[in-house]
Symmetry: C2
Subunit: 308 residues, 2 copies
Amino acid sequence: MILTVTLNTALDLTYRVPDLRPHASHRVTEVTERPGGKGLNVARVLAALGHETTVTGFAGGTTGHLVREGLAAVPGVVDALVPTEGASRRTIAVVDRRTGDTTQLNEPGPAITPAEWDDFQSAYERLLGAADAVALCGSLPPGLPVGAYAGLVRTARAAGVPVLLDTSGEPLRRGVAARPDLIKPNAEELAELTGSHEPLRATQSARRRGAHAVVASLGADGLLAVTPKGRWRAAPPAPLAGNPTGAGDSAVAGLLSGLVERLPWPDRLARAVALSAATVLAPAAGEFDRAAYEDLLASGVTVTSEVG
Amino acid sequence: MILTVTLNTALDLTYRVPDLRPHASHRVTEVTERPGGKGLNVARVLAALGHETTVTGFAGGTTGHLVREGLAAVPGVVDALVPTEGASRRTIAVVDRRTGDTTQLNEPGPAITPAEWDDFQSAYERLLGAADAVALCGSLPPGLPVGAYAGLVRTARAAGVPVLLDTSGEPLRRGVAARPDLIKPNAEELAELTGSHEPLRATQSARRRGAHAVVASLGADGLLAVTPKGRWRAAPPAPLAGNPTGAGDSAVAGLLSGLVERLPWPDRLARAVALSAATVLAPAAGEFDRAAYEDLLASGVTVTSEVG
């Protein structure tokens, strides 16, 4: 089983409006609602790839109820979320029908109590017993210590479970120092972590800070992987037009499934790039287009080894 | 008892963001949640004025549950909402902390089935039996006939209950033809109804179309009332700085309570202007500042009779 952790689950709402103008009133023409938070997105993709997947983290209130209800409808994903007194957050993606651009509004999330954090840590330790790998994903809700992910990385390592960390800011900095097996920062997160805007230098610096392997997602430039086994760049055949929402989460699912299947690094990277690109190409935000994924995997992704 | 009807109740969310920029991602720093829809806002103000008030309309889903939960916490308001299969809508007011400006996003609302509409009409007829006046407020949810308000106006008139209609567009046009006792359009709604942008001409034209009395709300210019008893203008002492959300609903509550108390027109208008101004001045959107209301009522509102 692959375990994904989403401490700040969300009810993801997408609003389509004809033309978003600040300070005006808008009639939303279309509303879609689905369970979200990075770890839930990763789990959905893992399940679609045929992996048994369990999600944990927190959910509470009527929004949490809707998250769990939506999750129950996803085949292959087991819900092991821990209840909270506070309500799970909403995120709202406002899509301008005229330009296709998205404006994002993210609620902060519920304040987690110390007792709830203890409950979660017990559940997490128990779940690790059955896990082949674990992904720790997304922002921390209010109330949790900034070193929360660092603690969870150490617990996974003590249990002998490979751990991927995908977060940002100070929780990432602390988490990296706890020596996760893999991190997948984007260019901005990597620059914030290392102080360098030069991707290769920054990726190498992130490894020195503690990450065993680093796969940096560089947008249209694809992935840059620096690992104990070597260094690679992986990219789609051409720049992609579409909605990048969830593309990073699909890349995480590709890397994690490849790790569990003990694929060589170039195959893991090809899968991550193909899934990520197939997510950008899918009509619905956060879904991936399976036919595009298979096409890209068969012939569309370039993986190049680099000598350091 | 005063009855207010909100066919499209809402869970009103207010998001504060540091600086709203289209196509960017925003961390919401503060979230507030309360039951909304114009008729619910009117009911809250009526109850605060000491009137027994009953709200009806539709509520459903987890959002409807939150609306009813919030309503249960308002003293003096009785919940007679009719359940729907579809979920009540959300509205989101995004307040830019830098400029204080508000960007509004309104979901359309649930599709009402014919059986639900029948249930509502039965409940409405029954409630009218105990009502001294009724206010029909706000937009129609999907699935209802555009003449829905016209039918409800006729039912109220047949029951001998004075009826105020506060809506816009085609539902207002049809509703006015059914001869409501009072309508309270703003300048834009009045122009859409009558084709005239000249307030006095438009107000008179709205009466000819069927409204027994018309009170037009003209923003900073206050209210213009054209009634069978005469014509008045009522205005606050000076332009007001603050949040206009709910000011129109407070004016409706002032007019309706004045009608039930059989106040002379100038007193009803003074109350409506004072409540409306005290709503703009209140720190929380849609609340009214009671001290400001009492001050304005005592000496701050000018009511001028006009000869037509």
